[in-house]
C-alpha cells in the first residue's frame, strides 16, 4: 500500500503545482480529496488491513491527507491573490473625479450661536424658558423699573402695535429678552436658574450695525445667597468657553434700571487684541453683555422676597458674537438669506 500512496502523492502534488484557475483546482480537490478519491478509499479500507500494516499505512495516509489539504489551501490563497492583482490592474478609476454630490444643509449661523450658548449655560445648570415676541408694556418696561417717561425707554426705540388690551395697556414688540426675565420672576418659584433666548425688535433704520430684528439671550438665577461674585464667575465661564481661555475679560460698572449693581462685560477686541482699532472704537475692548444683581424692586414686583433671595441677571446680544468671531462687517447679511453668505457657516 505504501508505494501506492507515494505514487499518489507525487502525482497529486505535480498536478497541483501546474493549476492556475479555480475550476481546475476544484476538480483536483474532488480527484484527490473528494469522497470518491483514492485517498478516501484507502482511508476507509484501513479497517480491513492487518494491525501492523494498518498502523503504518494509516499514519502515512493521514499525513498525506493533511499535506494535500494544506497544498489546496495554499493554492486557493495564491489563486485569490493572483485574481485580485489582475482585477486591480484592470478596474482602475480616476480617484480625482468628484464624488456623487449630496445636498448639504446648514443651520443658520444665529441658530448655531444660540445653540452653542445654550449648551454652555446648560452645563452650568441653566434651563431654557421662552416668552412671546409680542409683549405687554408691563413685562418689557414697567416690571423692570422702566415706567412711562423713563429716559431708559429712549435708548430702546420701540415698535408698538395698533392692538391694545381692554385696559389700554400697550402691546409692543419686545425690545429685549429681559421681558422674559420679568415673566420668569413672576411665574416661577425660587430656586431659579434659566436662560431666555429669543428675537427682539427695535424701531430703527437698518444699516451695517443695526437691524430692526435681532436675537438676545437673557438669563436669571434666583436663590438664597447668590452674589455678584457668582455673577462674575458664571459670565467669566461663558466668555472663557465661547471666546477661549486667553481672551481677556473686563467687568465695569454700567446702568440698567432692573439691576443694581449694574455690570457691563467686555472682552479684549478680537480684531486688534486690545491695541485699539476701528472695530472696538480704539478702546481695545468690545462690550459683550449687560448684567447685574437683579433689583430688589423687580424681585418684589414678581412676588419674590428680596430679603430672602438674591438674584443675578444678564443679557447677551447674539449677532455681535458671530460677527466678531468671523469678521462679519454687516449685520444685515444674517437676514439677507443670501446662500453665498449662509453656506460659509
Amino acid at each position: 500500500m505504501l508505494p501506492q500512496l507515494e505514487e499518489l502523492r507525487s502525482k497529486a502534488l505535480q498536478e497541483l503545482a501546474s493549476i492556475d484557475d479555480a475550476r481546475e483546482l476544484e476538480s483536483w480537490r474532488v480527484r484527490y480529496l473528494g469522497k470518491k478519491s483514492k485517498l478516501t478509499t484507502i482511508l476507509r479500507s484501513l479497517a480491513t488491513l492487518p494491525l501492523e500494516e494498518r498502523r503504518t499505512v494509516g499514519a502515512r495516509a493521514n499525513e498525506l491527507k493533511t499535506e494535500l489539504e494544506n497544498g489546496l489551501r495554499q493554492k486557493e490563497e495564491a489563486l485569490r491573490e493572483a485574481e485580485l492583482a489582475k482585477g486591480a490592474k484592470q478596474e482602475t478609476i480616476d480617484i480625482t473625479l468628484p464624488g456623487r454630490p449630496l445636498p448639504i444643509g446648514r443651520l443658520h449661523p444665529i441658530t448655531q450661536t444660540l445653540n452653542e450658548i445654550c449648551e454652555i449655560f446648560a452645563s452650568m445648570g441653566f434651563g431654557i424658558v421662552e416668552g412671546p415676541d409680542v409683549e405687554w408694556d408691563y413685562y418689557n418696561f414697567e416690571a423692570l423699573n422702566i415706567p412711562q417717561e423713563h429716559p431708559a425707554r429712549d435708548t430702546m426705540s420701540t415698535c408698538w402695535l395698533e392692538q391694545q388690551k381692554s385696559d389700554k395697556q400697550a402691546m409692543l414688540l419686545r425690545t429685549h429678552t429681559t421681558a422674559v426675565t420679568a415673566r420668569v420672576i413672576e411665574s416661577m418659584e425660587p430656586p431659579i436658574r434659566v436662560i431666555e433666548p429669543g428675537k427682539v425688535y427695535r424701531y430703527e433704520a437698518s444699516d451695517a450695525t443695526h437691524v430692526p430684528m435681532f436675537h438676545q439671550i437673557d438669563g436669571v438665577a434666583v436663590d438664597k445667597g447668590i452674589t455678584m461674585a457668582d455673577l462674575k464667575g458664571t459670565l467669566y465661564e461663558f466668555a472663557r468657553r465661547f471666546f477661549g481661555e486667553e481672551r481677556k475679560v473686563r467687568f465695569r460698572c454700567d446702568y440698567f434700571p432692573f439691576v443694581e449693581p449694574g455690570v457691563e462685560m467686555a472682552i479684549e477686541c478680537l480684531v486688534c487684541n486690545g491695541r485699539g482699532c476701528r472695530v472696538c472704537g480704539q478702546s481695545g475692548w468690545i462690550e459683550i453683555l449687560g448684567a447685574g444683581m437683579t433689583h430688589p424692586q423687580v424681585l418684589e414686583r414678581g412676588g419674590i422676597d428680596p430679603e430672602v433671595y438674591q438674584s443675578f441677571a444678564f443679557g447677551i446680544g447674539i449677532e455681535r458674537l458671530p460677527m466678531l468671531r468671523y469678521g462679519i462687517d454687516d449685520i444685515r447679511l444674517f437676514y439677507s438669506s443670501d446662500l453665498r453668505f449662509l453656506r460659509q457657516f
Binding site: 448639504i104 441658530t111 415676541d133 405687554w136 414688540l173 430703527e204 449693581p261 444683581m293 437676514y335 438669506s337
Partner: protein
C-alpha cells in the same frame, strides 16, 4: 457730555494722564467714548502780538505784519484782511505742522520767498490750526493771551467725551465729573466760590411767584439782575461752551448755559420787562394753548404740559424751551433768572410730544434735585453781575412746595458682603461713601446710617450704596466664584427638543436654514393669493412702522421664503432647498397674539448639483412629499395625505398633511400665478407644517416591537385599475389583511399594453406571521382574498 480737562482742573487737582482718567471713569460707570486733543500738533506755535503791519512791495493783497514773540520779532508775509496792530495772534515758526488752508493736508512749515519777500513763519488761521474751517481771517486771541507762550499751553485742551447713563443727571456737569474723579483718585474738590453784592429793593417787591401745579414743579427760584448790558460773552467762556458743543449767543444766555454745564442745573433768563404783571405762574398749559418757542416755531400745547406764564400768557415751556415773547434781546436791561425743579416724567413727555429735545430737558428728565436750584441760581447771578455789569436785587425768590426730608439708608458690612461676595470693612465703606459726598453716621455696632448728598437722586436703597462701594473700589476687586447652590429642577418645554430634531433632520436632507424678519407687508402677503381676495383675518399692524415693507407681523412664513428663492436664483444654478422654523403671529381679541411655530420648506431646481454623475432631473412634488414623509417618520408620527385646496398651491398638485384627524400642513407645487407674482420662473415646491400643533403627536409614548422571529414571504402583483383609483385606496385594502406586513409600490405605468383610461400599479407585498413560518398555501389564500376584494371594490384586475 463733553468735558474739557482744563475746565475740570478748576475744581480738582488732576494728576492722572487723560487716558488713565478716561479708563478710571469708564470702569466706574461713566464710559469715555473718546478723547479729543486740541493742539496736539502745535509744537512750534506760540502766542504773538502784532506790533506793525506794512504793505507788501509787490502785491496789493499781501501785507507784512511784524509779530512780537517775547524774545524776538518776526516779519512775515500774510494775506489775511484782519491784521491789526495790538492784536494777539497764533504765530507758527518754521517747522510747525499746520493744515494747508487750500489742500487740507498736514504740512510742515518751511521758509519761503513770497513775491520776492522772505517769510520765515506764519500768522495762523483757525483752519491752519485745525480748530475750525475758517481760513478767511487769522485767529485773533483774547488780549490776555501771554506773548511768547506756547499756543498749546494757552489754547490747547483735552476733551473727554463721556457717555453718562440715564441715572446720573449729576454727571451731566463738570462739577459732577470732578466729584467722581475726586472719589476715584482721592484728590480734593474745590467747588466754585460764590459771592456778589445785592442792592435794594428786594426781589420780593419786584416779582411774585406762584406754583399752581406743585406736582409738576417742586421748587421755583428766581433772581433779578437789572442794568445789564447785552454783549458777547468773554472769549474763555465762549471757548468752553464751544468745546462742550454749545453755540455762544450773548453774555446772558451764555452764562445760563455755562452754569448748566458747570453745575448741571438748567437755567432760564427772561427779559424782566416782558413779564406782564411782574408775576410768574407755573401752571399746566391750557389745552391747545399756543406759544412760539425760542427757535421761532409755533407750538400747540396740551393740558399735560407745564408752562411758565405771566399774568397774561405762557412765556416758556417749562424745562424744555423758553418763549420768544420773553426772550433776552440786545435791548434787554433787566434779567429775571429762573432756576427750577420739574417733574422728570412730565418734562420727558413734553419734550417727546413736541419733538423738542434740549440740553435742559435732557437734564430735567433725568431728575434734577430741588436743592441744586439755589447754588446754581447764585452762581449764574454772580457771573451776570460780573460779566454783564448788572445790579442784583436783594434776595432770591424761592417757592418750594415739594420739600422732602432726605431718608437715611441703613447699611452694614455684612449686607455688602452678602451681595458682592467679598468683604469690605465698615471703614472702607464709610471712606468711599464720604469721598462721594455721602454722610455716614453710626447706627449700631455694625450698621451705619447713610444720607446721600442732594445731587444723588439716584440713591434710594442699600443696594445703590453697595454699588457705589463696588464701583469706586473697582469691579475687579470682586472675586469670581461659581454658583454653589443645588441645581434647580428644570422643566424644558418639549417644543425646544422638537425644534432641534426638525432642524437637524432638515439639514440632513440638505436644506439650508434661513431666518427672516417677522415683519412684512400686505403687498407681500397678497402675492400669495392667485386671485385678489381680502386677507382674512387682517394681520397685526404696527402703530409706528419704520418702513412700508415692515408694517405687519407675518401670519405665514411662505412669502419670505419665496422672495429668498427669487433673490438667490440670480446667482444659484443648482437646486435650492430652504427652510425656516419660526413663529407666525395671529390676532387674538383683547390679548397678546397667538404665536404658533411653523415649519416652511421650499425646494426648486435640479435634484442633484450639476456634476458628471447627475442626469439634470428636476425636483418635483414627490421630492417635497418625501421630505415631509421622512421628517414625520423620524419624529415617529404617522401621517396621511388628502386632497387639499390651499389657494397658494397648484390646484391639482397639493396635499393636506393629516395627522390623527387633524390637517397640520400642506405640501405641493406653488401655484403658477403665485410663482409669477414672486418673479419665480421655475416650478417650486413648498411644504408647511404647524409645529406647535404637531407637538402632542410627537410626545405619544412609544412601545418596542419585537424583531420578527419567522421569515417573511414576498409576492409581487401588478394590477390594472381605472385612472381614477388612487394608490392610497389600493394600499388601504391590502393593508386591511392581518398577515400583510408591508406593501410597497414599485411601478406606476400607463401607455402601451394598458387599456385607455386605465393604469398599471405594481406592488410588492410582504407577508409575515409573528407565530409561525407561513406556508405557500396560507399566503396564496390571503392573496386570493386580497385580489377578490380589490376587484369587487376598485374593479382591479390582475395584469396578465
Amino acid at each position: 457730555m463733553k468735558v474739557p480737562l482744563k475746565w475740570l482742573k478748576e475744581y480738582i487737582d488732576l494728576t492722572l494722564p487723560p487716558a488713565e482718567l478716561a479708563e478710571k471713569l469708564t470702569m466706574a460707570g461713566i464710559e469715555a467714548g473718546g478723547i479729543e486733543v486740541i493742539g496736539e500738533r502745535w509744537d512750534n506755535v506760540v502766542v504773538g502780538e502784532i506790533v506793525a503791519v506794512k504793505p507788501h512791495p509787490n502785491a496789493d493783497r499781501l501785507r507784512l505784519p511784524t509779530v512780537d514773540l517775547g524774545t524776538e520779532q518776526q516779519t512775515v508775509v500774510c494775506g489775511a484782511p484782519n491784521l491789526r496792530v495790538g492784536d494777539k495772534v497764533a504765530f507758527a515758526r518754521v517747522g510747525a505742522e499746520l493744515i494747508d488752508g487750500h489742500t487740507g493736508q498736514l504740512t510742515r512749515l518751511k521758509p519761503a520767498k513770497i513775491r520776492g519777500v522772505e517769510s520765515s513763519g506764519m500768522v495762523c488761521s483757525e483752519k491752519e490750526l485745525g480748530i475750525s474751517d475758517n481760513h478767511q481771517e487769522i485767529l485773533v486771541l483774547p488780549p490776555d493771551a501771554p506773548v511768547g507762550a506756547p499756543l498749546a499751553e494757552y489754547l490747547g485742551d483735552v476733551i473727554l467725551d463721556l457717555e453718562v447713563t440715564p441715572n446720573r443727571a449729576d454727571c451731566l456737569s463738570i462739577i459732577g465729573i470732578a466729584r467722581e474723579v475726586a472719589a476715584l483718585t482721592g484728590q480734593s474738590l474745590h467747588p466754585p466760590k460764590v459771592s456778589y453784592e445785592e442792592s435794594p429793593p428786594p426781589i420780593a417787591e419786584q416779582v411774585a411767584i406762584e406754583i399752581a401745579d406743585p406736582d409738576l414743579c417742586p421748587r421755583y427760584c428766581a433772581s433779578l439782575i437789572t442794568g445789564v448790558k447785552i454783549a458777547e460773552s468773554p472769549q474763555w467762556m465762549q471757548r468752553r461752551l464751544l468745546a462742550c458743543g454749545m453755540r455762544p449767543i450773548n453774555n446772558i444766555v451764555d452764562i445760563t448755559n455755562y452754569v448748566m454745564l458747570e453745575l448741571g442745573q438748567p437755567l432760564h433768563a427772561f427779559d424782566y420787562e416782558k413779564i406782564m404783571g411782574r408775576k410768574i405762574i407755573v401752571r399746566r398749559a391750557e389745552e391747545g394753548e399756543i406759544i412760539v418757542s425760542l427757535d421761532g416755531v409755533e407750538r400747540t400745547l396740551s393740558h399735560d404740559m407745564l408752562v411758565i406764564a405771566d399774568e397774561v400768557r405762557a412765556v416758556a415751556i417749562a424745562g424744555v424751551m423758553g418763549g420768544a415773547n420773553s426772550e433776552v434781546t440786545e435791548e434787554t436791561t433787566s434779567i429775571l433768572l429762573e432756576a427750577a425743579s420739574f417733574n422728570p416724567a412730565s418734562i420727558h413727555h413734553t419734550s417727546r410730544s413736541l419733538s423738542l429735545p434740549s440740553e435742559a430737558s435732557m437734564r430735567f428728565e433725568r431728575g434734577i434735585r430741588p436743592e441744586l436750584t439755589i447754588p446754581a441760581l447764585k452762581r449764574a447771578t454772580q457771573l451776570m453781575a460780573e460779566l454783564a455789569g448788572g445790579k442784583v436785587a436783594q434776595g432770591v425768590a424761592d417757592v418750594y412746595p415739594g420739600r422732602r426730608k432726605p431718608k437715611p439708608i441703613r447699611l452694614s458690612a455684612e449686607k455688602t458682603k452678602a451681595l458682592l461676595g467679598v468683604e469690605f470693612s465698615l471703614e472702607q465703606i464709610v471712606s468711599t461713601l464720604t469721598s462721594l459726598g455721602f454722610e455716614c453716621q453710626p447706627a449700631s455696632a455694625d450698621e451705619i446710617q447713610v444720607t446721600p448728598p442732594y445731587w444723588r437722586g439716584d440713591i434710594q436703597q442699600a443696594v445703590d450704596l453697595i454699588e457705589e462701594v463696588a464701583r469706586i473700589a473697582g469691579y475687579d476687586k470682586i472675586p469670581t466664584t461659581m454658583l454653589s447652590q443645588p441645581l434647580p429642577r428644570q422643566n424644558p418645554a418639549p417644543i425646544i427638543g422638537l425644534r432641534q430634531k426638525i432642524r437637524n433632520s432638515l439639514i440632513g436632507y440638505g436644506f439650508q436654514e434661513v431666518i427672516t424678519y417677522s415683519l412684512t407687508s400686505l403687498e407681500m402677503l397678497r402675492k400669495l393669493r392667485p386671485e385678489a381676495q381680502p386677507l382674512e383675518p387682517t394681520p397685526l399692524r404696527l402703530a409706528n412702522p419704520m418702513t412700508a415693507d415692515q408694517e405687519y407681523l407675518r401670519p405665514t412664513l411662505r412669502a419670505n421664503l419665496l422672495a429668498i428663492l427669487e433673490a438667490n436664483r440670480r446667482h444659484e444654478e443648482d437646486g435650492i432647498r430652504l427652510f425656516e422654523l419660526g413663529k407666525v403671529y395671529l390676532v387674538r381679541e383683547g390679548d397678546l397674539p397667538d404665536e404658533p411655530e411653523v415649519l416652511c420648506g421650499l425646494l426648486s431646481g435640479t435634484r442633484e448639483e450639476k456634476s458628471w454623475h447627475g442626469d439634470g432631473s428636476l425636483l418635483d412634488f414627490f421630492d417635497a412629499k418625501g421630505v415631509v414623509e421622512g421628517l414625520l417618520a423620524k419624529l415617529g408620527v404617522a401621517a396621511s395625505f388628502e386632497p387639499s385646496d390651499d389657494a397658494s398651491f397648484h390646484p391639482l398638485k397639493q396635499a393636506a398633511i393629516v395627522i390623527g384627524d387633524r390637517r397640520l400642513g400642506v405640501v405641493g407645487e406653488l401655484h403658477p400665478k403665485v410663482a409669477a407674482a414672486f418673479d419665480i420662473s421655475e416650478p417650486a415646491y413648498l411644504f408647511e407644517i404647524r409645529v406647535t400643533d404637531l407637538l402632542p403627536f410627537t410626545l405619544e409614548h412609544k412601545m418596542f416591537q419585537p424583531i420578527p422571529r419567522f421569515p417573511p414571504t414576498v409576492r409581487d402583483i401588478a394590477l390594472i385599475v381605472d385612472n381614477g383609483v388612487s394608490h392610497q385606496q389600493v394600499v388601504d385594502i391590502i393593508k386591511g389583511f392581518s398577515l400583510v406586513k408591508q406593501v410597497t409600490i414599485f411601478d406606476v405605468y400607463s401607455g402601451k399594453q394598458v387599456p385607455e383610461g386605465k393604469k398599471s400599479l405594481a406592488y410588492r407585498i410582504t407577508y409575515q406571521s409573528p407565530t409561525h413560518t407561513l406556508t405557500d398555501e396560507e399566503v396564496n389564500k390571503v392573496q386570493e382574498q386580497i385580489l377578490r376584494k380589490l376587484s369587487q371594490q376598485l374593479g382591479a384586475t390582475l395584469r396578465g
